[in-house]
Amino acid sequence: MSESEMAIIKPEAMKSYIWLQCTDGSIQQVEEEVAMFCPMICREILQTGMGSSKNYAISLPQRVNPAILSLILDYCRFHQVPGRSNKERKSFDEKFIRIDTKRLCELTSAADSLQLKPLVDLSSRALARMIEGKTPEEIRETFHLPDDLTEEEKLEPLKNANDDPRIRLLNRLYAKKRKELEERQKQKDGETEEQRKDERSVDEILSFINGDGDSKTAKAAKNKKKNRRKKEQPKDSSRTESDKSHKKEVSTLSVVRNEAGVSYSPSPSQISEMRDSAEDAFAPRDFEDADIDDELDPAMKEELDREVEDFARRLNSDWPERMQEILSLSQERRAVPNFVNGNGSLRGYTGTVGISLRQYPLPHPPTERGQDRTTWRMENVIRSVVLLSFKTKRTIFFTLRKHLEVSWLIFGRKARL
């Protein structure tokens, strides 16, 4: 073996190098002790005797590219020195692992193919830390994962997660409520129109709330599918569709309120629908799909549960009835406001929320700050809705009037004032 002969005659000052070749053909030379730190290379050298010269370079597995190889060799170079303390090694590892996710994945893959177990452990720990505690959207964003699961597939693992009986009950209630509301609205057609403004704004808030319940952006995709199907149905009755849709939202909310403590329906994102020129009506079937709170992660669902409870508690018992009145008033006039498409944020919306809160007594007394009751109530309503919007990353528009200053509050992922 030329390698061993060389080892005998070489002067001490001369280092021996190992030649490594990546799949793309590039050849790199590296000090022997650094390369031997790597079990696969070590084995190659000992078993086949390759690597001693440029012509006999050790060919590395496919997953190792030159950039990652130099990174790995840095790692080996540091750790193969025996004298380092554990603290030094740990701090080196911490700094070493601070690379972008793409390279981290490549590094893990390459380390695995080279069987460098400590590096595999280190990088998989780093990847786990990146995943831990994040919502699925965040994780998808970090790692650029394709969102290619259908709704059913997403629900499948979680469907059994915790709330089967509640889901079934909820579905039944939704269906019942919807039927009731439809009947009542048919009866109450043509009542006073004084609160037209109110209705629309209430619709808005309901729709946003319902839309906000959607924690998975992909739900929009599914609902878009359904919406498109509905679109093919009579387009001229789009208005009635949207009316119906609003009603359904109301029913959703009312049922939600009745079922305080259950996370409410993440019906299809109203925003996306309205973006589609406001002609889509979300499928009422959505309620029945038993998907109501299944898309939500269990953890997120908990938070949303709480938020909804908060919010629902603030609405009193005749809220559904009131809503029906309000809605039925403007059945004809309910032109969906013209929305400008804007990447999920609605601009130029002129709806107002004029919820007169006097009739919604809240269970808790005002705080010690001595606020007037209405203000306090309003604050709480807004607070819960804002929290909802933050959680679900949707945009909500508010106008406060009467006792409070008229002001636009815009919340959401892209907050602009």
Binding site: S109, A128, D148, E153, P298
Partner: protein
């Protein structure tokens, strides 16, 4: 595996999903179980990756507190959707579990899935009756049970691969315990703390290397533990109920301790010996102490509740020092109170010491009160340990004249030039 080609700066590739399954599994294993299960909604590649992870850990750290109230339902669902072997199962039901019988279901499932490590913990007030299916989990290697009640099936073949057994706050009978230990022939480490229902412990474990016992017992009999290296025994204070029986049982005590003494004779390879709480009291009643064998491997000795005012305790100390010629580390926690056998000096009746501390490197004496025997021992050690490196001392809180004691200790001659005296605070 072909690396995906970068199509351009703005179109990022999904690199993590192209990692091989074993790496994805390694990543999922490092996540708390909630996050690991939630990864199933990330993308189609990740849909079922979590269902084959071999470790299922449901304890306070892995499951967010908000979900603890339905931990049992969560475990049910996870077990239902999981596929493949489960090697490690940890469940901490101390937060909430009202009805422990759901755990029976899980153990049945786990016993079919080549379980290797099982950790169960429940409420201390609600003892969980272990189902018999647990005793048929053949492959268990590590078993840790808290707040359980043992009832071995009549035909118990033992856990053939069990290496580590840790029981805390358990109810088990003498016979059951003896059977359990003897049928697990590979047992290497046993920790047995806060036990009820057994008082005479017998250990027939030829591979046992580490034994920790902490509880109320009458006797310990190490009948077959030749390789025991670490022995740590602590005898709890008897409850008030036993006070009346103390004087009656003196003869009985002697007979019982016979077994422990025999046990001490049977562990020649011991390296680390700890006698805590009332163990010295237990040994004090024994006249056979003089016949302690010489432990040629004993390097660390840890004694607590040593009453320097009691002749018997001092006698025990002398016996132990005599049997440990290669002792390197000695730790004594004093607990000197007035006793019925007051000791005037450490060297009662002996002209010179019959032991040496030739290898002693670290001596720690805490809760020093400054009584005669304490000071004499410290003096002796300082003067006779040529390789002593550090003497750690701490005075008891009740000492009135600390400076006097420090002055006394400062005066002592030191055989080791490297010795330093450090005051622990």
């Amino acid at each position: 595996m072909v690396l995906p080609i970068r199509r351009g700066k703005f179109e990022m590739e999904d690199r993590i999903s192209t990692l091989p399954s074993n790496i994805i599994e390694a990543i999922l294993l490092r996540l708390p179980i909630a996050d690991a299960v939630r990864s199933s909604v990330l993308s189609s590649r990740w849909r079922y990756e979590w269902s084959t992870i071999p470790h299922l850990i449901f304890d306070k750290h892995s499951v967010p507190l908000s979900l603890h109230y339905k931990l049992d339902k969560i475990v049910d669902q996870v077990l239902l959707l999981h596929s493949g072997p489960i090697h490690k199962f940890v469940f901490d039901g101390s937060a909430c579990l009202e009805d422990c019988s759901v755990v029976n279901r899980w153990i049945t499932v786990l016993s079919r899935n080549s379980l290797k490590e099982l950790v169960l913990r429940f409420c201390p007030d609600r003892i969980y009756k272990l189902p018999s299916t647990l005793f048929f989990c053949k492959g268990i290697v590590i078993l840790e049970l808290h707040d359980c009640e043992f009832r071995l099936p009549r035909v118990f073949e033992g856990f053939g691969s069990l290496c580590t057994l840790s029981l805390e706050n358990v109810v088990i009978s003498d016979n059951d315990f003896a059977t359990l230990i003897s049928k697990c022939s590979l047992l290497e480490k046993v920790a047995f703390m806060d036990f009820y229902g057994c008082s005479r412990l017998r250990f027939n474990a030829p591979n046992l290397r580490e034994l920790i016992i902490d509880g109320l017992f009458e006797d310990i009999y190490l009948e077959n533990t030749p390789d025991l290296a670490i022995l740590s025994v602590g005898l709890d204070d008897a409850d008030d109920l036993d006070d009346e029986g103390d004087s009656d049982n003196e003869d009985l005590e002697n007979k019982e301790h016979y077994n422990f003494m025999t046990s001490l004779n049977a562990v020649p390879k011991i390296e680390n010996l700890s006698l805590r709480h009332n163990m010295l009291e237990l040994l004090a009643g024994d006249s056979l102490l003089d016949r302690l064998p010489t432990y040629s491997y004993l390097k660390k000795l840890y004694l607590t509740c040593v009453n320097f005012e009691d002749t018997k305790h001092i006698a025990i100390l002398r016996c132990l020092f005599r049997s440990a010629p290669v002792l390197e580390e000695l730790t004594i926690e004093a607990d000197s109170v007035d006793s019925s056998n007051p000791a005037a000096s450490f060297w009662e009746g002996k002209e010179c010491a019959d032991f040496r501390f030739n290898h002693l490197r670290y001596l720690t004496v805490t809760e020093i009160l400054g009584v005669g025997p304490e000071m004499e021992l410290i003096e002796f050690v300082l003067a006779n340990s040529p390789v002593l490196e550090t003497l750690f001392i701490r005075l008891d809180n009740d000492v009135c004249d600390e400076v006097k004691i420090y002055k006394q200790i400062m005066r002592f001659r030191r055989a080791s030039t490297r010795a330093e005296i450090i005051n622990l605070d």
